[in-house]
């Protein structure tokens, strides 16, 4: 990576100086098999954010996290933490801590010794760290209190439940006061009920500590609900980064559009009429407030199931006809899975609205400002 290229790379918050937070600059990672697990021009984690790396399995999100941690060295590129190049710094010397997916607690140590292990090592290695046994005890006590582990201090990991183990893993990570806290799929080892609780716990912890947190998950719902900054990865590349609302409302390409949101975004190939303000396909018709300019003759039209309504409206937008195949009850709403002449699509109906029965024809209206257009060849977003 040349310095000229570095300056060119659009890094938020700075022109020349590297920004605060974590920056993967031109980082790529190839494993011995030759497969590129990660290849990013620039991946920025803003300082103080709760950044979530999300993507399907094999997208490189865990590799990215492990490169930040130092457990994996990049094949090329630099890792910067608060402007300092730590590419070749050992994992324990980067001001970074990590909570592992299966927590990786030391099975032979009690909870408090698990938590204090890193501090005891730091006291031993560096006398200037200012850590004596009283200070270590104070910090361990504080971490235990903050995570509700005080009663479990003398237990061993084998005697703890999954949720308790996770809290020990968190306590072990935060007790070292890292600049950056890394969480590798921290909720996947917990059962569904606990997951909701742990999610809130993590968000609270982030707010209390105020440090940078990077979380890796394959669960898009978890990503949207927890992140202050979202990074969507696929096949080793960053597809889009931004606030969850921004990424959800303005997905940069078809992959991001369908990966985020449940049920996923509906998509259909439509023909653009000469006037540019009418899009049609069998069973679908859309009227736009402004004509499209410079787009292919056919485009991909997307709309979220939740943006559709069964109520009739005269406002510009999409009108789609179909027949209900299946109605799914989710509690707050019903999801009607429908088949139209241009393929399958879904619409979310609020639970109190009249719900069509399976086999009935339905007509759904989507306001024009909630429509998404993508290039059929590249999958990239087209601006209306």
């Amino acid at each position: 990576m040349t310095s000229a290229k570095l300056i060119e790379s659009p890094v938020p918050g700075a022109e020349n100086a590297p920004p605060a937070g974590v920056l993967l600059d031109g980082v790529s990672k190839r494993f011995d098999s030759g497969r590129a697990a990660l290849d990013v021009a620039s991946l920025h984690v803003p300082s103080g954010s709760l950044t979530v790396f999300v993507g399907p399995s094999g997208c490189g999100k865990t590799t990215a996290l492990r490169i930040v941690s130092g457990l994996e060295e990049p094949t090329a590129g630099r890792v910067l933490i608060d402007g300092t190049d730590v590419t070749h710094a050992p994992p324990g010397r980067r001001g970074v801590s990590m909570v592992f997916q299966d927590f990786a607690l030391y099975p032979h140590m009690t909870v408090e010794r698990n938590i204090s292990f890193g501090l005891r090592l730091a006291a031993k290695h560096r006398s200037e760290s200012g850590l004596d046994s009283a200070e270590i005890e104070r910090r361990v006590t504080q971490a235990c209190e903050s995570l509700g582990l005080t009663a479990l201090r003398r237990r061993r990991p084998g005697q703890l439940s999954g949720g308790e183990r996770q809290r020990v893993g968190l306590a072990r990570a935060i007790v070292r006061r890292p600049k950056v806290l890394l969480l590798d799929e921290p909720l996947s080892a917990l059962d569904a009920q606990l997951r909701q609780q742990a999610r809130a716990e993590l968000v609270r912890l982030h707010r209390e500590l105020g440090n940078t947190v990077v979380l890796v998950t394959h669960d898009q719902l978890e990503a949207l609900s927890m992140a202050t900054h979202l990074v969507v990865l696929s096949k080793g590349h960053v597809l889009q980064a931004g606030s969850p609302a921004e990424v959800y409302r303005r997905p940069q390409d078809e992959f991001v559009a369908t990966f985020l949101g449940s049920p996923p975004m509906n998509l259909a190939t439509v023909t653009v009429h000469d006037t540019g303000d009418r899009l049609t396909a069998p069973g679908l018709g859309a009227r736009l407030p402004r004509p499209l300019r410079g787009v292919p003759a056919e485009v991909r039209l997307g709309w979220r199931p939740g943006d559709g309504t069964l109520r009739h409206t005269e406002a510009p937008g999409l009108v789609a006809d179909g027949v209900v195949d299946l109605v799914e009850f989710t509690g707050d709403a019903m999801i009607a899975q429908c088949t139209g002449d241009s393929g399958r699509w879904a619409v979310t109906v609020p639970a109190n609205d009249p719900v069509p029965a399976a086999g009935e024809p339905v007509r759904v209206h989507v306001p024009a400002e909630r429509l998404h257009l993508f290039d059929p060849a590249t999958g990239m977003r087209l601006e209306a």
Binding site: P91, R93, S97, A104, P107, F117
Partner: protein, 303 residues
């Protein structure tokens, strides 16, 4: 048994337990014939004066046990047995543990090849191995002394000098112990979560600290078990080497209780004393194992 718990009726319970005893019978009968029968027979023999062939044997009470105590040979053999045990112990625990950890830390092709080479001593035929050592350690023409002479060092009569003989027997036996236990430590390491090593790395532990504070403590129980197990299984291997290389000499320096027992029985044809020795050995090992069981239970309780 489910029938019994369902009905809780007397006759049904009786049938259930009778059935259980029926299932136990083959195991109990086999144990009686092959394990406890010979033990009992040995115990009876230890009170007799018998030369293995004569039709009559005289009852002599505890005199055979008296022989073991009063004559110096058995005491010497017992002391040597302790020495053998102490010399073998590090090669049953520390050395294979270190080798296994070294290979575990650097997994890959080289590690696999090394693992295979290390296991080779286990499959070598014991007597052939001992004979090979006899040639290698020959005081005049052996490779070891030839080499020593070539570099200007004095030759040593490895197996003929009472000061070096026991250690030499240990040295030619331990490769097998190391080989087998390295394999077993490797199996124990397969259960150690490599993520704990990564966690320690995140905690800024140095390589040595990771080994000492994270890996070895997770192997502690394996270490105790293998140490104990090796002290039980190493004797036949030592026996072969003693039998081929020194026959207990020079001046009983390489003798141990097993070889002494063999000498009583098949050199002196004194079945009574040999049996008394066998009973003493069995009791001593029984006590040792009971001590181990006690310690390991306490260890488990403290976890």
């Amino acid at each position: 048994m489910t029938l019994a718990t369902q009905t809780k009726a007397g006759p049904a319970r009786k049938t259930g337990s009778a059935l259980a005893w029926l299932y136990f019978t083959p195991a109990i009968v086999s144990l009686l014939i092959w394990v406890y029968g010979p033990l009992l027979f040995t115990a009876v023999l230890s009170f007799l004066d018998w030369n293995l062939v004569s039709p009559d044997a005289a009852w002599q009470g505890l005199r055979n046990y008296g022989t073991l105590v009063t004559q110096p040979e058995f005491g010497n053999a017992a002391w040597n047995t302790v020495l053998y045990g102490l010399c073998v112990l590090p090669f049953a625990t520390v050395v294979p543990c270190a080798l296994a950890i070294a290979m575990w830390k650097r997994p890959g092709r080289a590690s696999e090849i090394y693992r295979m080479l290390l296991f080779l001593p286990v499959v070598v035929a014991p007597v052939a191995n001992a004979l090979a050592w006899q040639f290698i350690l020959d005081p005049l023409h052996g490779a070891v002394n030839q080499t020593l002479r070539a570099v200007g060092l004095p030759a040593v009569n490895w197996l003929g000098d009472p000061h070096t003989a026991l250690l030499t027997i240990v040295a030619v036996t331990v490769p097998k112990v190391v080989a087998l236990n390295t394999l077993l430590f490797g199996a124990a390491l397969a259960n150690v979560d490599r993520r704990t090593v990564e966690a320690a790395r995140m905690d800024d532990a140095r390589e040595g600290e990771i080994t000492r504070a994270v890996v070895i403590p997770q192997l502690r129980r394996t270490m105790i078990l293998l140490g104990m197990l090796s002290l039980v299984v190493v004797w036949p291997w030592l026996f072969t080497n003693i039998s081929v290389l020194t026959r207990g000499g020079p001046s009983n320096a390489t003798d141990n209780v097993y070889f002494r027992l063999y000498t009583y029985a098949f050199t002196f044809f004194d079945a009574g004393t040999a049996s008394a020795a066998a009973i003493v050995i069995a009791v001593a090992f029984g006590l040792l194992l009971a001590g181990y069981a006690f310690l390991s239970r306490r260890f488990r309780a403290s976890r």
